[in-house]
């Protein structure tokens, strides 16, 4: 496969945001259908929830959390990019502050669990 010739960090962020959104859009109908079973067929829901113990399903759930996180931060990035007329150094500082806060909060989370 040929490398994408015009791939640069902003473009990669753009394509990651789009693809994660597409993935979530495909997942959501299935998600809502499963949730609806709580009302219409609780026994089937319980049987389905049994599956969540399987390693493969856990792996898929990790993928979903990744998609959600990527799409969430991608959306925040896009809103900041378009709505905040910041200069390049201000953007760098904001990104560094977000990364620092994420690092500290992850450390706390890891200590907690």
């Amino acid at each position: 496969m040929r490398a994408v010739p015009r791939a640069h960090p902003l473009w990669l962020a753009y394509i990651l945001h789009r693809l994660s959104g597409l993935g979530l859009a495909l997942f959501l109908p299935a998600h809502f259908w499963v949730l609806s079973q709580a009302m219409t067929n609780p026994a089937r829901l319980d049987a389905f929830l049994e599956l969540t113990g399987m390693p493969l399903v856990k792996l898929a759930e990790t993928g979903l959390v990744f998609l959600l996180a990527v799409h969430f931060f991608g959306g925040l990035r896009l809103m900041a990019l378009e709505w905040l007329p910041w200069s390049a150094p201000q953007k760098s500082l904001a990104a560094a502050a977000t990364a620092g806060a994420f690092l500290v909060s992850t450390l706390f989370l890891m200590r907690a669990i």
Partner: protein
């Protein structure tokens, strides 16, 4: 005497009516050689029929832009050393997102038509008989306007933009940046006309902020931020009217 080394070059040939084909050339390598030097060497020594466009050769006129190894570049200021890297050969094609006239010459009519469609012309506040209006060079608006005035209309941003590829009506980064420059000009009389022109189908809201325009602008301009400015101005106007 040093041994002469050569550069392998693949050049797209043909007119709009042909299926594009590639011709291969071996061009003598030199120090500080630009991609335009390579194209000129081919035209002067290997194939006089090769069609391409250039004028100033010093990065001012914006006429020599081409796709070099998949990336739009001003070829007169792009050194072969920079684009060759580890690649075995250089691939040179006409600018993306534009019709081909012949070989490496793209038809820029759609590009400039969109400058007009984006209301990229000045609406004066005074006539020639009035005194010249003073412009405060330190104002925030002037800083926004000045940020985009060094555009040389090379269409590199237009060729880089995937939104243009997907939406032929999209006005494109250069035209929208021109509109944003005028919008911030103290001597601009009709800002509403500009916002009307850039908020229709294919206007600033079609931009997906992928940033290729800013990444590849040879003059280090930032059309993506200019388009974001238009989006904010359009939103402000919308809420003012609605409120």
């Amino acid at each position: 005497m040093t041994e002469e080394t050569t550069i392998k070059v693949r050049v797209q040939r043909g007119t709009a009516d042909d299926t594009p084909r590639f011709d291969r050339f071996e061009v003598p390598a030199h120090d500080s050689q630009t991609v335009l030097d390579v194209v000129s060497w081919i035209q002067q020594h290997a194939d006089p029929g090769l069609t391409y466009r250039f004028a100033c050769r010093v990065g001012m006129c914006g006429s020599c832009a081409m796709m070099v190894n998949g990336v739009p570049r001003w070829t007169c200021r792009t050194h072969v050393r920079k684009v060759l890297g580890d690649a075995a050969e250089i691939e040179i094609r006409p600018l993306r997102n534009l019709p081909v006239i012949k070989d490496l010459a793209a038809d820029l009519d759609p590009f400039f038509d969109k400058w007009v469609a984006a209301e990229g012309r000045h609406h004066p506040t005074r006539t020639r008989h009035d005194p010249i209006a003073p412009v405060d060079p330190g104002s925030a608006e002037r800083a926004q306007a000045s940020a985009g005035i060094e555009c040389i209309n090379c269409a590199v941003c237009y060729a880089a933009c995937d939104t243009v590829t997907g939406n032929p009506d999209y006005l494109g980064p250069a035209a929208l940046q021109r509109a944003w420059t005028l919008f911030n000009d103290a001597k601009e009389a009709d800002r509403d006309a500009i916002l009307d022109a850039v908020t229709g189908p294919g206007g600033c809201t079609s931009c997906h902020s992928m940033g290729s325009c800013t990444a590849y602008c040879p003059n280090d301009l930032d059309p993506m931020s200019a388009i974001a400015g238009l989006k904010r101005a359009a939103a402000r106007r919308y809420f003012r009217k609605a409120g």
